[in-house]
């Protein structure tokens, strides 16, 4: 596993930081779209070593954070039903719904299980024909292909007891929504390497062109991020606005076409509500009519849901980069990973959780 060491070399890191300081003549503001990138930046303290005035803006790319409260409440209601095996990725278990979370439901007897891949849920369904197995299918373009494959596999097996609660979201509509906001401060983007490994970067080219904003496809290791930031700054300093690829070891311009085909077969683009941000047109995926029988929302009528966000949580402004976690009056006091008020404090990729884990504190007023 040499590659890990190579992309964490302290000497190279310091060299990139020096080059960055020599290159940046202005306090540029760059958004890292992905929560995984936020996590690395904060854990390594890279954002605190940047040239004076330069700022990273933490973007909306944490799939756990942007899953709508209504979807979570629906998930809890389905998971609490007798006969259901409810499956999810681990970090969804702690996300607060309006009244509870999946971990608490499990402690009270609901059959909630962590899976590492959606195919695990399909296998569970095949092995438990007398139970309904439901998978909470959230995430960006990164997780969509595996979820699509799981649906295709369940269809091939003829399973009638497998379904998904789908709440997929797409990155480019979120980027354009941010850029359309007149208060937007973002001058360049680090695009999420994993998303681009699936989708390529062609869809970012019109965005870079139309908004005159550099986009650098960037990986997740410390050196990836430092190099991605440097590439973005070089473009900004030169007045360029192109899509460049820092993550050459994993990403091609056209992406992974087989994965894209699977996604197109199973899902179609739909309007989607983002937690903390609101409704964005054509920003999500839902099952096509051909596979609608695998839609858990259709299969389980859970009654009227009344999601209520915590009034104190400023998750929306954090997800759009308008505020920092440390700006929130509840940060670190009433809102902690132990008792999160909002989703960004839950997932390890959430901006608030990343700040909290790194011990960031509020500045004295």
């Amino acid at each position: 596993m040499r590659y890990l060491d190579e992309y964490r070399d302290p000497v190279l890191a310091r060299r990139l930081l020096e080059e960055l300081r020599e290159t940046a003549t202005r306090p540029w503001r760059i958004m890292e779209v992905c929560g995984g990138q936020t996590h690395t930046l904060v854990r390594q303290g890279i954002d605190e070593l940047l040239p004076a005035g330069m700022r990273m803006i933490h973007g909306p790319g944490c799939p756990v954070c942007v899953t709508p409260l209504e979807t979570l409440d629906r998930a809890m209601a389905v998971a609490a039903r007798p006969g259901v095996i409810f499956t999810s990725f681990g970090d969804m278990l702690r996300v607060p719904g309006t009244e509870t979370d999946l971990l608490s439901l499990r402690a009270r007897g609901a059959d909630v299980r962590v899976v590492y891949a959606p195919m695990d849920a399909v296998r569970l369904a095949a092995g438990h024909p007398d139970r309904e197995v439901v998978f909470l299918a959230v995430g960006f373009e990164t997780t969509a292909p595996a979820n699509a494959m799981a649906v295709l596999h369940a269809a091939r097996l003829g399973l009638t007891n497998f379904s998904m609660l789908v709440s997929h979201v797409l990155v480019p509509p979120a980027m354009t929504a941010l850029l359309d906001d007149p208060d937007c401060e973002v001058q360049a983007f680090l695009a999420a390497g994993h998303v681009c490994a699936v989708m390529g970067w062609r869809e970012y080219e019109p965005i870079a062109d139309r908004y005159r904003v550099p986009v650098v496809v960037t990986g997740f290791e410390p050196l990836d991020l430092l190099e991605g930031i440097l590439m973005a700054v070089r473009q900004l300093e030169a007045g360029r606005h192109e899509v460049e690829n820092q993550y050459v070891r994993a990403v091609r311009r056209s992406g992974n076409t087989a994965a894209q085909d699977a996604v197109r077969e199973v899902f179609r683009v739909t309007d989607r509500s983002w937690r903390g941000i609101g409704a964005l047109p054509a920003s999500g995926l839902e099952l096509t009519d051909t596979y609608a029988r695998f839609d858990a929302a259709g299969r389980f009528d859970v009654g009227g849901l009344s999601p209520v966000e915590d009034a104190e949580c400023i998750a929306g402004t954090i997800l759009t980069g308008a505020r920092l976690p440390t700006d929130c009056s509840a940060y670190g006091t009433r809102c902690t990973p132990r008792h999160p008020l909002g989703a960004p404090m839950v997932s390890s990729e959430g901006t608030c959780a990343a700040f909290f884990a790194a011990g960031r504190t509020r500045s004295a007023p």
């Binding site: 596993m1 040499r2 890990l4 060491d5 964490r8 302290p10 890191a13 310091r14 930081l17 995984g36 904060v42 854990r43 390594q44 303290g45 890279i46 605190e48 070593l49 799939p63 756990v64 409440d73 809890m76 209601a77 609490a80 990725f89 681990g90 970090d91 969804m92 278990l93 702690r94 719904g97 009244e99 509870t100 979370d101 971990l103 608490s104 439901l105 499990r106 402690a107 009270r108 962590v114 590492y116 959230v138 995430g139 960006f140 990164t142 997780t143 994993h194 410390p222 009528d301 859970v302 009654g303 009227g304 849901l305 132990r338 997932s347 390890s348 990729e349 909290f356 790194a358 011990g359």
Partner: protein, 344 residues
């Protein structure tokens, strides 16, 4: 027909898995429920307790509920011996005797029980500590997860070696006897079939002989702790809290094996909070650090011993910081509860 969501409003009213993960939730459970009912506990919570009236004797008890029962590098039987031997050793004690109590779920194949017991017996023999008493209970199917093992150990302290979690001092060197993360990632990978099993094995092993090499350093050895549940992060936080000192470690100095780093990366886990069963942390007087490292490295189980940091001369008491690879500084917090693999 519609179904009303029967979700509870007070999610803190029941025990959760995270309460057993060795982090902040475990602390809360002990502090709020367990300890108050036992009267005032004298001093910090240690790996093993001094036996009242017999200050050279220590006692420790531990229950092993690992799933699966068998994993690369060990099984629940050997783990039950190593875990308790190590808890005694972390108070500077040599193990004298163990008890073993079994809770067996109806339906467990006898061949598996025999295999576990053979391994347990072999581990005890290799550690040189007899099992002198025990108990066996069988419970109905579903009342336990195959097999639970409880071991209690009594040990005798070595001469001047009296380590305690409360004895770390400013200026102390922090030593680590070997790589971290192996046990936790091995068990997780084996349980979930994640495919790392071929590259990785638990570090489960007894550490009492390693501790014995430190005996000549006597009182210069301030703290010994094996970072099991909650990993290195929890152990360092407990020591910093109990000793009221500020601790700093260097990320580049902490040995994380490649397969552990890869598994943690994939799952979104932090190697600092992943469980270990075969390494120890030692806080020693800075002047004795060289001798302590040489002593640790003299045995195979300490061959990879390194200095990972220091107790700061001053700083907020109870705080653990890490110098990152790029030279920034961040706080290493006490883990909360269960480690949950991330989504992508």
């Amino acid at each position: 027909m519609t179904v009303e969501c029967p979700t509870p409003r007070h999610e803190d009213e029941v025990v959760m898995l995270g309460h057993g993960a060795g982090g902040r939730l475990t602390s809360e459970l002990l502090g709020e429920i367990v300890l108050p009912s036992l009267g005032d506990a004298p001093g910090p919570l240690e790996d093993a307790a001094l036996l009242p009236g017999h200050r050279e004797l220590v006692i420790s008890t531990d229950s092993f509920v690992v799933s699966p029962l068998f994993f690369p590098g060990g099984d629940i039987g050997s783990l039950a011996v190593h875990g308790t031997v190590n808890d005694l050793a972390m108070r500077g004690a040599w193990p004298i005797a163990l008890s073993v109590s079994l809770i067996i779920e109806e339906g467990l194949p006898l061949a598996e029980l025999r295999s576990v017991m053979d391994s347990l017996g072999k581990a005890a023999q290799e550690a040189g500590v007899p099992v002198v008493t025990g108990d066996t209970k069988v419970v109905g199917r579903g009342a336990a997860d195959r097999l639970f093992v409880n071991t209690t150990g009594v040990g005798q302290r070595h001469g001047a070696l009296h380590p305690s979690a409360a004895l770390a001092r400013p200026g102390d060197a922090i030593l680590l006897s070997g790589p971290i993360g192996l046990h936790g990632t091995t068990v997780l990978s084996t349980r979930e079939g994640l495919g790392f099993e071929g590259d990785i094995a638990s570090d489960s092993r007894p550490l009492h002989r390693l501790v014995r090499t430190l005996v000549p350093l006597g009182a210069a050895v301030h703290v010994l702790r094996d970072p099991t549940r909650g990993g290195l992060a929890a152990a360092l936080n407990e020591i910093a809290r109990d000793s009221s000192v500020a601790v700093e470690i260097e990320e580049s100095a902490v040995p994380v094996p490649g397969p552990v780093a890869a598994a943690c990366d994939l799952l979104g886990l932090d190697p600092l909070v992943v469980a270990n069963e075969g390494c120890l942390v030692a806080f020693v007087d800075a002047g004795a650090a060289g001798d302590a490292l040489a002593a640790l490295r003299s045995l195979p189980e300490g061959a990879g011993a390194v200095r990972i940091g220091d107790v700061l001369p001053e700083g907020p008491s109870g705080r653990v910081t890490l110098r990152t690879l790029v030279g920034a500084r961040r706080i290493v917090d006490m883990p909360l509860g269960e480690q949950l693999p991330r989504i992508c």
